[in-house]
């Protein structure tokens, strides 16, 4: 029954790869950010817009 373990291993690998791709696609998803929160007490840098 060694082939069962091979199939289980392949399924686990496929699931891990799919999960990594899903997480990465979410992290790379674009947005439009308005007025980013500036930590209190942090000096404003750059020219500002």
């Amino acid at each position: 029954m060694w082939w069962v373990w091979v199939i289980v291993a392949l399924v686990v690998i496929a699931l891990v790869v799919a999960a990594v791709l899903l997480v990465q696609s979410r992290r790379r998803r674009g947005g439009v950010i308005v007025d980013p929160t500036r930590p209190a007490g942090r000096p404003r840098r750059g020219g500002g817009v």
């Binding site: 990465q24 790379r28 947005g31 439009v32 950010i33 007025d35 929160t37 817009v49």
Partner: protein
Amino acid sequence: MRLMRTSEVTKRPVVTFSGEDIAQIKDVVYSAGGGAVGGFTLAGRGMFSGPLKQGLAWSSVAALGADAVMVRDETVLEPTQSILDASASSGGSGGDVLGSQVLTDSGVALGTVVDVIIQVDQPAGGQCDVVGYEIEASEALGSKGTRVLMPLPDTLAASGEHLMVPAAAKDFVAQDLAGFGAAVLAFRAQLEGPG
């Protein structure tokens, strides 16, 4: 000067004049005070690469082309935090406007933001301003579920949850980008008044 949706800009590759593909656009960052786009956060180009710690200031963009964002070289990138700080305001509550609700100053919900419209001047020394939202209309606009373009005033009130617009904005909605530039000008002229 041209109008475009921010969804056309995100995921666009950032390419140097020497032809090196160094990143791709992730987020567009802008300030509610004036609506000027301060820059972009970046993501890596590989399938497994995530967000980068470096961002791209609008002032460093050499050209915003149809297929790529051109920069002089890799040295123009700067820490993402400085890009965010440049667009931060003291009272800003920040956040992604996509999915936020648009409210008039009379308290009527006009819809949900699905995209943002920017007006791009020549990047070298020019400006890039947020001039409107594309929203999925609510019943208040009489066309629930359809996508319409809503002009914005020069100075916005915005947070990650609610975006405020003057009630008059709903009289200037457009269906497509072709006539939207004129709608923005007419809307802003009305807000400024005859004087």
